[in-house]
């Protein structure tokens, strides 16, 4: 039995390059991820969000607000949304995300081509034009993943536990467009202090070098815990309230987080505890989750 693939949202998905499978063209970055809530109340990833309307809120501050405001001003719609690429189009997750479907083009690229590049002689003509459709609107009730990062976590007794450092995802969600299972939120890595990113040093076995960097990152995040989704009582924009007291939480063991392993597997496999201390399978760049068929 193969286990369902596990990923960490910030480490494996956010800010990675998106490439089109047809011609290898660079499409965009994963600026954010769109979430929908499944029938069991557990959120799963439905789409990649790209463009300034997705990136701006993550950058934050004056610059981030400016990014959003300028884009909203220039877009014709009443409530413009970011560019949306359904997760069902994703055929590989590695050092970049590979997508299929018809080629898409961002608005700024079209604008730069029309107004700056095309008028200059020698820009190269008769390239196959990508479709110029407007981004489709997000479905009602859709949320974004990035606000979950750095969210405050308190336990059942109101005791502060820490903040979310990364979101664990597992490919055992509902079927997307009938081709592959969605990545479903599996739990949260909660760190006790504001010590920034984990930089991938949470993974194992043993963790990756160089040793001193690994040691520093792990020292900064000592006392981290893994909170399974079933331990989450209440999730709002202000924080996560757990349904269990802090002492019942499992410690997060560095170097034993199993991520990136396994091809996408049929629904219903696995379902055991998250912290099974099994060995990590090789996990080269080729270990991308192919399409289920």
């Amino acid at each position: 039995m193969t286990a369902a693939r596990r990923l960490h949202a910030e480490l494996h998905l956010l800010d990675r390059q998106v490439i089109h499978s047809g011609d290898g063209r660079l499409v965009c970055k994963v600026d954010d991820l769109e979430l929908a809530t499944g029938s069991d109340g557990r959120p799963y990833v439905t789409a990649i969000l790209a463009g300034p309307l997705a990136l701006g809120p993550r950058v934050g501050g004056v610059l981030g607000r400016l990014m959003v405001a300028v884009t909203e001003m220039l877009r014709p719609e009443e409530h413009p949304g970011p560019r949306r690429i359904p997760m069902a189009l994703v055929s590989d997750i590695g050092s970049a995300l590979v997508i299929g479907g018809r080629p898409l083009e961002m608005a700024l690229e079209r604008w730069a081509r029309r107004t700056v590049i095309d008028p200059i002689p020698g820009s190269g003509h008769a390239a196959p034009g990508a479709s110029a459709h407007l981004p489709e609107a997000a479905p009602p009730g859709a949320a974004r993943l990035s606000p979950l990062l750095r969210l405050r976590v308190t336990d059942a007794e109101g005791q502060e536990v820490g903040q979310v450092a990364d979101v664990g995802l597992r490919q055992d969600g509902p079927l997307l467009a009938g081709v592959q299972h969605a990545l479903r939120i599996d739990g949260f890595i909660v760190v006790p202090r504001h010590t920034g990113r984990l930089f991938g040093y949470e993974r194992g076995p043993g963790g990756y070098g160089p040793g001193p960097v690994r040691a520093i990152v792990r020292l900064l995040h000592r006392g981290s815990r893994f909170v399974g989704w079933e331990q989450v009582g209440d999730l709002t924009g202000d924080g996560i309230r757990l349904s269990v007291p802090e002492r019942d939480l499992e410690p997060f063991v560095f170097g034993r987080a199993k991520t990136g392993e396994g091809r996408s597997a049929p629904l219903g496999s696995g379902g055991g505890k998250e912290s099974g201390g099994g060995k990590e399978s090789g996990g080269g760049k080729e270990s991308g989750g192919g399409k289920d068929s």
Binding site: E10, H12, L14, D15, R16, Q17, V18, R25, L26, V27, C28, K29, D31, A50, L55, R58, V59, G60, L63, G94, S95, A96, M106, L108, E109, R110, A112, R113, V116, I117, D118, I120, G122, S123, G124, H125, A127, R197, F199, G200, Y208, G209, P210, G211, P212, V213, G260, G282, G283, G284, K285, E286, S287
Partner: protein, 407 residues
């Protein structure tokens, strides 16, 4: 012959770092003031940039991801943006200086004021980036820069007192203060290990469609290009130490720093050296202009590169064009191009860890690298340089203020 051409990317990249306009003058200046006592910094810089470029080139070959992709992916959008703004600022500043430098070389050759050459240099550079294939570009300008080897010939011909030069290696002149000495050490290290070198080198690897099979080519590029660049900057410092140090003269213009080449290698030497300076600064112009496009495009995930037609990478080419225009305008304000690079070198030393760290982390990440992760040796050396670069970054700006930029 094909093998010779295979390493031109490394040569072009390295010359843009070691013997571009700022370093040409900085090396001569350091030689005339400190003799060879800062030569060790060049060696430290060569080893560091070899390590840094080798990791980033290997990542580009194995995973197809250039450096700024990694910066955004590992540091996140906020810190990545800070690095982007800093790098872009340094890039455009350096680009302005390089355009000015190429124009100065033309002034030396023709006697016509450099400001009149600036628009022409900028236009030709942009046309090269717009139309010429990446491999053709790197071969022509990489090989042309080799004319600077005449500095090594000149040093030989000058017949310096080698024992005296050797003694200087460990004995800094007593009349220079320690802060000034360390300020120039940082400027030299910043000149050797500039972020735009790795941006250009790794993106160049992607432009050339490197894959796992090309790792030998990638290493050859690193091991030929950067040591050659370092060797030339030592030769320049050696020439200056031989000619200027004994008479206590201080070098601060391009024509002065070319003088030893004329003394040592005669008229032909002088012609070759002016040609070499033009080629190296023009190559550095291309390197920094393209790097400004690479960094922005890679941060935002835009299509970039010269491997597609310009209209398919419209945003990338628009950024390059805008960068060239802004830099040209900057240099036309008659700002001194040599002063500009002196400052930008120190700023780039301060910004370097933000680029170095993600590269070091991802060179160890088997998700990207599979079996090609860093070995023990690379990691041990990588850790030493990490500490060194953090110390240098912290010290750079305070030292600059304390020594009034080395005066």
């Amino acid at each position: 012959m094909k093998k010779v051409f295979a390493v031109t990317l490394g040569v072009l990249t390295a010359f843009g770092g070691f013997v571009d306009i700022g370093d040409l003058v900085a090396n001569a200046l350091v030689g005339s003031r400190f003799g060879m006592s800062l030569a060790w910094v060049v060696v430290v810089g060569v080893v560091g940039i070899c390590l840094f470029a080798e990791m980033s080139g290997r990542i580009a070959a194995v995973s197809g991801r250039p450096v700024f992709d990694l910066v955004r992916e590992r540091l996140g959008p906020r810190t990545g943006l800070v690095n982007l703004v800093a790098s872009f600022f340094i890039n455009v500043l350096t680009l302005a200086a390089e355009i000015g430098g190429a124009a100065l070389a033309l002034e030396l050759a023709t006697g016509v004021n450099y400001l009149l050459w600036v628009p022409g240099v900028a236009l030709v550079a942009w046309l090269v980036m717009w139309r010429v294939k990446f491999t053709t570009m790197e071969r022509v300008f990489g090989l042309a820069g080799l004319a600077l080897i005449v500095f090594a010939v000149a040093l030989w011909q000058l017949g310096p007192d080698w024992a005296e030069l050797g003694r200087q290696l460990t004995n800094p002149p007593p009349d220079e203060g320690a802060p000034t000495y360390w300020y120039y050490a940082i400027a030299l290290l910043g000149g050797a290990m500039t972020p735009y070198e790795v941006f250009f080198f790794s993106s160049g690897g992607v432009e050339e469609h490197w894959s796992r099979r090309d790792l030998a080519v990638e290493r050859a590029n690193v091991l030929v290009g950067f040591p050659l660049g370092g060797f030339l900057s030592l030769a320049i410092a050696g020439c200056a130490a031989t000619v200027f140090l004994p008479v206590q003269a201080q070098v601060d213009t391009l024509s002065q720093m070319l003088l030893p080449a004329g003394l040592g290698a005669g008229q032909i030497g002088l012609v070759l050296v002016i040609f070499g300076v033009f080629a190296a600064t023009f190559g550095a112009t291309l390197e920094t202009a393209l790097s400004s496009g690479y960094t922005i495009s890679q941060y935002f995930g835009w299509q970039w590169g010269k491997f597609v037609r310009p209209r398919q990478a419209a945003r990338f080419h628009a950024v390059v064009l805008a960068g060239v225009i802004v830099a040209t305008a900057l240099i036309l304000t008659t700002i001194d191009p040599i002063k500009v690079t002196e400052y930008s070198l120190v700023f780039s030393a301060a910004a370097l860890p933000l680029t170095y760290l993600p590269v070091l982390m991802i060179a160890n990440d088997p998700d990207y690298m599979g079996q090609k992760v860093n070995g023990r040796f690379s990691n041990a050396l990588g850790t030493v340089y990490m500490v060194l670069l953090v110390v240098v970054a912290a010290a750079a700006i305070p030292l600059m203020i304390a020594t009034k930029a080395g005066q």
